[in-house]
Symmetry: C2
Subunit: 257 residues, 2 copies
């Protein structure tokens, strides 16, 4: 079959669901651990447990990649590691730059999980001239002026932004202008980018807020009653005074001034 990508199930062709893609790294991590322990074969049940998902989901996920298992036996660990790595594009080398070398940038530079997955930290970049030359994780920090040159010289297509929020959009613009097409953003800002550029964000405080939401639910589960556990005085609604129909926990019918 030399005519490239022509066969394929034809039904969903080249569309691995996003939800599945997001779990592949999880499976890969679990498989890598098994591989290191020289486990030759694993069942969907075992692997699912190791990855923290249920086995039906795992099998469904794998079915999008192809039929890589053996009925009655399970999956060949090494083989699956290879297939998932290839699917994720980890059989090639991805040079990345990290911009903004504070505590977080340093943590990222030191993070072992990158190197072991085909990601190579091509450069660390910071706007503070005092940092230039200082090695972090064995890599000397370069000044932001060099950004464009670094990106093009190294063929960097993935950039990591760990600057303060205020600098993020500008850094992003420069990365994109220099040729970066994927950005991992740790700064708590919405980045705007042209079409064709992917952004993923990781916001440390958002995750905590989601936990707080659920935590609050647990507390109020059956101890309910308390409609005014609030301690902060609710602000007054601007205009209209009537007609709100928010669920419970609502403010008093006429809001305090």
């Amino acid at each position: 079959m030399a005519t490239g990508r022509t066969h394929r199930p034809a039904t969903r062709s080249r569309g691995i669901p996003e939800a599945t893609v997001a779990r592949l790294p999880l499976y890969l991590r679990a498989l890598t651990a098994l591989s290191e322990r020289s486990v030759p074969t694993v069942s969907s049940e075992e692997l699912a447990a190791a990855a923290g998902v249920n086995s039906a989901k795992l099998r469904k996920d794998f079915s999008y990649l192809g039929s890589y298992g053996t009925r009655g036996v399970g999956y060949d660990v090494e083989y699956l590691v290879y297939q998932i790595s290839r699917e994720l594009g980890l059989t090639q080398d991805w040079p990345v730059v990290i911009v903004g070398i504070g505590n977080l940038g340093a943590a990222l530079a030191n993070y072992g999980g990158f190197a072991s997955r085909g990601f190579r930290v091509a450069a660390l970049i910071d706007a503070d001239p005092a940092m230039a030359g200082t090695p972090v994780a064995g890599i000397p920090v370069q000044h932001a002026d060099e950004l464009e040159k670094i990106v093009s010289d190294n063929g960097v297509s993935i950039g990591v932004i760990s600057t303060p929020a205020g600098a993020a959009q500008q850094v992003c613009d420069r990365l994109v202008a220099a040729g970066v097409t994927s950005i991992l953003n740790f700064a708590p800002t919405v980045l705007s980018v042209p079409d064709g550029v992917d952004v993923r964000k990781v916001d440390l405080s958002i995750e905590l807020q989601i936990l707080a939401f659920h935590e609050q639910r647990k507390a109020g589960e059956e101890a309910a009653a308390g409609d005014d556990v609030d301690q902060a005085a609710p602000p007054v609604r601007a205009a209209a005074s009537s007609s709100r129909k928010g669920p419970d926990g609502d403010m008093p019918a006429v809001m305090p001034a």
Copy 2:
């Protein structure tokens, strides 16, 4: 209405969709920014743009909280800030502990986004005795032996784990035993916890892998053809030799030994 939570739309009662909950912090951040600029009112369109979502989604999300807008006008900024904060449980104070004070732990301790959202770092904990007493972000690091005491003395219900992977499960078990019921895990491991305990994970390398997946797609978009851009030699499949039907990018029909 002293009889607590009795009214409510009755249809979906107390179920804000997870996807909506996950976006509330985003809206809150955008609203806070508007509030700081003393903007009194905002339309779904404007706010959606600021939060990086589309306006239909935003309106739908808000509709789960109640009818907090004014037709023809928009939403009152201060009022919405309050409502969302309350919904997320941020009108109360959440003491958190951070366990594992490496670069990442330090980054978290320094992160301004916590304090400003009702999260108070009650303690920093590390297993390294040499760190004990050293202040990080103005808070002295305490030894891991103190973990249980710290958690119960401070009524901590949310714990953050930023230890190496190997230590995470043990730390998790101790946190849970001490009374923590929500955990934010930065260690690249699957944590197992009893029912009733929430875990959210943030994995720095997983996000990069997802980007790599999409990046790979972009590259191969129309330059397709190359069925063997692979450079790493594919491992041999254990047993059976025939009958795989993976989509394109498959290995040669008979795998090389």
